[in-house]
Symmetry: C3
Subunit: 320 residues, 3 copies
């Protein structure tokens, strides 16, 4: 068979899992963003709940610890009225030598409806999605360096909210692109949504020149990279990169690639600045930018809850 | 007083705590299994909830860590609409030198309705049950080597589901019977429910010959032990046994007592294979058996949720 | 500006945060106690829930671990029908170098309604309260040596329950007053509520003589300190004090300052004995007193849930 169906879609082309933005048609992305727009208002209400997932069981399977991301999914699921179960996988049976798929089978047998999976291995959520029964859904909450699709979607929601249209946008993604699943997801999403120009910016050790095959322009100089951009997405610099051979020091890095108010002036006057958090003030971004008028970092968080509510309610409504 | 009332029953003979299967009359066991049958369908619904424990507070007190078992009780309680509180006891006040009963008194004063207790010491749930007020209930989720009554009950539910009647059954329990609270609970339950023949099978170091006082037949050879059986219950082999003097190595163990498709052919052609999980593939059981048509290991998990819902709703409905 | 408004009150003088009992007017304290009285009965019901915080998001932010206190707030919030999120802060982004206020901004952006904050640094809850948006509320669950206002309030509730009126009461607070946020909160509350006489009792190393500026009488002898008292509040002795230079040994301490039935006879015949828990039997208090008729330690716990429900429902009903 030459043609292999995207495992995220059923035969009717509806979203049943969210594993990666790569390969998702524009119509699906737009549908998620439109659905999220409805949920943004729910989060502003006195009673922040809708009964869409009432009586459903959502399992947070975090094989890699991330309290922040787990919490956003827990909030989103509870605001959809689901029952949420947080499994501290590191301390549980996988540690006792059980295989990943035996763990999944076991939890599925408890009548799980939706697995939110974070894993240090790229592809783990795919493996799980291909294994589960037709009524069970998988949402990738970050797998290795591969993908972090809900972060990519909330970034798109934020850009659309402030810039309306992707057609004429110039977007720069700045920092450790090499190790970033966020960058990967953003690039796929921006390309699919018809963004005019996507740039990646960073030192040669963190932004390989051969990334151009992804349809992006590569810059190794921050000033050139953000000049004239409408959107600047700063990536978090992992502390563990510092000790290695990839980077000299955090001060050196900040001097070359840290976003300051002065450098930001090279972008469009109404450019927005984004960051997936948590922020390293004074490492990849200056405090004055974080707290300045162009930063939309906290709205990203707000939209992130709505986007996760949208993704969970959409996949839970479709069957394989 | 020569006669001492079973602490699990009130004066009317109704179940108020589930501490051990030992000493429970057949009518109580049957009542639990019948109630569980109703809950199996609840877990298949779109909205997997019934309001039986709405506004009740269930405390998971796991003095011994077991994410899997804790999760099954959390699911069961939430599907009964209870509020569930997971206490990480190892990190809390008991670690500060507070006594077990002071901890219980304290939590009871917060208006607890039901304690689910897991403890490494045999008898801890009894101690707690004898101490709490008349409207508070205790369910044993495993105490030392002594008892794991909800596992025993879900095993009985599974056997009854596939075999209808216990009267003519031949059941083999295979493995580390000596250290297994599951084996103990299964033996008591099978005997009470009128099972024709219960066998225990394993090496001399793990299956003492004097177990015959429990009304079981002892085998030190797997082939002899499972020959003609209708049900084969495999026990998990704890890794920590391997390093000790009790066993040579996991390969040696598998050669003698691991269940392979070939050996399984000695049992009845329609024999079912059970396992409490998590499974050690290739140690106590061959992967081909786990994934084969006779294994009912995942249905055990599904029935386990329903059995725990049954136990919690029954005890919460009765007063001391 | 000479006059600085109490950050816990809005312009109309209504409670919007609970940070400290210090500076709160008597009418506010009385309003909390009166509201708690209504919730005591809720905790006795079959269905222990009221819908006052339905659809609200309560975040337990415990920068310092305390399973017991966290659980009491979780219970209180769930009985008010809120959604509760427990953040294991030690393992999350603050550990990754994010600042406290960035963490708060981030969680606020997820549409938090109420933060329950425990922190080892005195003043952390104030910092957070001054930072959050007008519709977000902060409750201090213990900050450093500074304050533990809900414990202070539940102590007042307990005293009022048993003694009706504060006007003619003689109250002794016994033990490690120096390091105790409970003692501080109790002293402020008792003074505000018009208690006739507040005494602090303990060794010179743990009860500095200059505490008299707080309007209390200082005693370095237990017999003198509790003589004629109506209420004796025993403080927990932290084990870590023992190893230091502050105290000789726990046996020596018990001999001088441990409350025994004999010593308790020096207080009023109907004196009540309180303790914030967890208890060190045989260190600061004799088992015979803990289990005796004058101890009201478990009612304190029960009232504590109601007091926390009162505080959360009151602050959530007011806007800055």
């Amino acid at each position: 068979m030459l043609y292999k169906r995207n495992p995220q879609l059923n035969k009717s082309g509806e979203l049943i899992h969210l594993l990666s933005i790569e390969g998702l048609p524009r119509a699906i992305l737009t549908h998620i963003l439109d659905t999220a727009a409805n949920f943004v208002s729910v989060n502003d209400r006195e009673v922040k709940k809708v009964p869409l997932l009432r009586g459903k069981s959502v399992f947070n399977l975090f094989f890699e610890n991330s309290t922040r991301t787990r919490t956003t999914f827990e909030i989103a699921a509870k605001r959809l009225s689901a029952d949420v179960f947080n499994l501290d996988i590191a301390r549980s049976s996988t540690a006792k030598g059980e295989t990943l798929l035996d763990t999944i089978d076991n939890l599925s047998a408890m009548a799980a409806d939706l697995f939110v999976v974070r894993h240090s291995e790229s592809g783990a959520p795919y493996l799980i999605a291909q294994h589960v029964a037709p009524h069970v859904h998988v949402v990738n909450a970050g797998d290795g360096r591969h993908s972090h699709p809900t972060q990519g979607l909330l970034d798109m929601y934020t850009i659309r909210h402030y810039k309306r249209d992707f057609a004429n946008l110039r977007v720069a993604i700045v920092g450790d692109v090499l190790h970033s699943r966020v960058a990967r997801s953003d690039i796929h999403a921006l390309t699919t949504l018809g963004c005019a120009e996507v740039r990646v910016v960073g030192p040669r050790t963190l932004v390989p020149s051969d990334l151009s095959h992804m349809g992006v322009q590569v810059f190794h100089n921050l000033e050139d990279g953000i000049r004239g951009c409408d959107v600047v997405i700063m990536l978090r610099l992992q502390n563990e990169r510092m000790s290695g051979a990839l980077l000299p020091s955090s001060q050196e890095y900040f001097k070359s690639f840290g976003l300051t108010p002065e450098k930001l002036r090279l972008a469009q006057p109404d450019a927005i600045v984004m960051h997936p958090g948590p922020i390293n003030r004074g490492v990849e971004i200056d405090s004055a930018v974080v707290d300045g008028p162009q930063a939309v970092i906290l709205p990203q968080v707000t939209f992130g809850i709505a986007v996760r509510m949208a993704v969970m309610s959409i996949v839970a409504g479709n069957e394989a």
